[in-house]
Symmetry: C2
Subunit: 394 residues, 2 copies
Amino acid sequence: MYSQRLFKLGDQASPIRELFNYGQEQARILGPDKVFDFTIGNPSIPLPDVLTEALEDIIKECDPVALHSYSVSAGHPSARKAVADNLNERFGTNYGPQNLYFTCGAAAALCATFAALTYDENSEFIALAPYFPEYHNFVETKGGKFVAVANAPDFRLNLEALEAAINPHTQAVIVNSPNNPSGKVYSEEEIKDLARLLERKSKEYNKPIYIVTDEPYRELVYGGLKVPFIPNYYRDTIVCYSYSKLYSLPGERIGYVLVPPELTDSESVYKAIAGAARTQGYVCAPVLFQRLIERYPDFPVDFSLYELNREKLSTSLKEIGYECVEPEGAFYLFLKAPSGDGSEFSKLAKEKNVLVVPGVGFGCRDYVRVSYCVPTERIERAMPLFAELYQASK
Amino acid sequence: MYSQRLFKLGDQASPIRELFNYGQEQARILGPDKVFDFTIGNPSIPLPDVLTEALEDIIKECDPVALHSYSVSAGHPSARKAVADNLNERFGTNYGPQNLYFTCGAAAALCATFAALTYDENSEFIALAPYFPEYHNFVETKGGKFVAVANAPDFRLNLEALEAAINPHTQAVIVNSPNNPSGKVYSEEEIKDLARLLERKSKEYNKPIYIVTDEPYRELVYGGLKVPFIPNYYRDTIVCYSYSKLYSLPGERIGYVLVPPELTDSESVYKAIAGAARTQGYVCAPVLFQRLIERYPDFPVDFSLYELNREKLSTSLKEIGYECVEPEGAFYLFLKAPSGDGSEFSKLAKEKNVLVVPGVGFGCRDYVRVSYCVPTERIERAMPLFAELYQASK
């Protein structure tokens, strides 16, 4: 006798993961050059050498007992201070260590945040489609209600639809910009509009409607695009961050929740997040990587490989005739299936060993997601197959 | 508006942590040599050099993209195989990677396991006092009921009391041997008796009553004492393990759940644990340390510092007149307060800057816990104060 609900969750592989596993198996059977895997968002740019050296230095220099011992749950104060100082320098804010809670990656940060904001069984959390599929589980397994609102076809914020979905039970709106899977970066105007809407609704309902912004791709933008730092536009913003994509450390699990001092009930919300983390069996974030982040809370990583891939992918696909919105950040392209059925397109593509994730899990069934954190030649060699698929599915 | 329940959990520091923080503060004010901190179970023996070198080798040799990328959620299959092979060699078992699920430490392993076994709101989990205080939260935040049963004064298994507490709602008995805080190691006889009892009750209720064994101190035993490997005595045993204490890596968060193939509904329980991990915002265990564990799933660590401390501490305390049961494993001594009031004793000790954790949180209010993973001289210099405390509290 065991939990049926959790059995189902564990039994059902994420569609992304399932396709990825299939790709691994096909690569074993046919050879890796015969499979064109565009599924997983596994960063393909290495951790910068200077950070690898820092890792080696930390291990060499630090007494191992001190190095590997527990930190306080929220993370080493000095490491949190380094992150806070860096954010303050970049965004003109006034954060301190007390506003940061380190977590094992952004997934854990989001789970703790949603749990903390789940006031009762009616608490609602709104995500803007397309959205990262796991938000649904993260919210609903904490007892809240997950609500999806479709953004515009060009992935711009759909404020009318959002306003219609907001009601007195709404606890938070989940923002993910740069967006997985579309690569959309909300402009300053869009953020201001969003802030105005939520301020108005918060007043109307006499309670704060929080923004929970999930921003692991914050630094991963193209063409020098500015990404508005949302807490500077809306005070009731909680930031969930991870170093997985910036530093290509997704397996090491290091991220944080930022609870700005200006947030309504800031200290209490921070404590609720700490309480939530505790119920997740969380003790502290991996300490070796806390030390690394302390030395390098930020770093000018060279993303030109992703830039090249983005350009190649979207240009080639457009030349074939596909409709696609140019991604502005992250390393995914959300591609409209020519037939309008993303699941069907993914299935046909799979038969050619081109692996792209159906958009239905992201809230947009007429799309597929193409990850371009891959070797450039994989994009080049897959293009003839994308052309065949286009002809076949028109 | 945020979760009141989680706010309370986050607001209430663990008594261990609170005392530790106080000690840190006092050390800053008075100087570290004036404070005698026996609170936290932070391992004081360094990670063996050979493992530090392995860490350095892994970083040097592995391509950083491959090294730091996501593993599958359960952990790299080769790393799981290394752990399984090692367990099989040591315990004559037949485990494979499919029986292991890596987690961010034992706390996460326990949370996932309790969640998976929480069948409905009546599900009960029995812990044997003295027990690790966090078990209470781990169980109850998953919706289950935590039940404490007092072991015998010498910390031997109290089977009569346990039997009386078992009922049709009992999902599992939590075993922690070597025990935190008492250092007790259940003998083979005690384990066999426990197994017999649970087999009988499982038959009676026509459902498996699981043992969840929390064993981070499995290798940390004295005098060559044999620690029975519980799955070899009772098939419905789930093992939660962590490398925190063996390798002094508590901050790096690397452990696992072992679900033996012989367990009733083994594959389904494994999947429920995977589902539970997913709801905890877990993606994978820190991959650098997965690689380390793959190279060294086991290692003959030299625990003679702990052995020396154990001997000094228990001999000196007994000489003063204290009653204490000699710990057989781990690095804690559970000391009977001469007045019979552990909280009072802890308070008086605190006034002398001797920091010991009240036993009430462990389910035994007449005791205090003394951690001896400390520099040996701290024990020596604290003894006169322990003597004063003995006189004062008789």
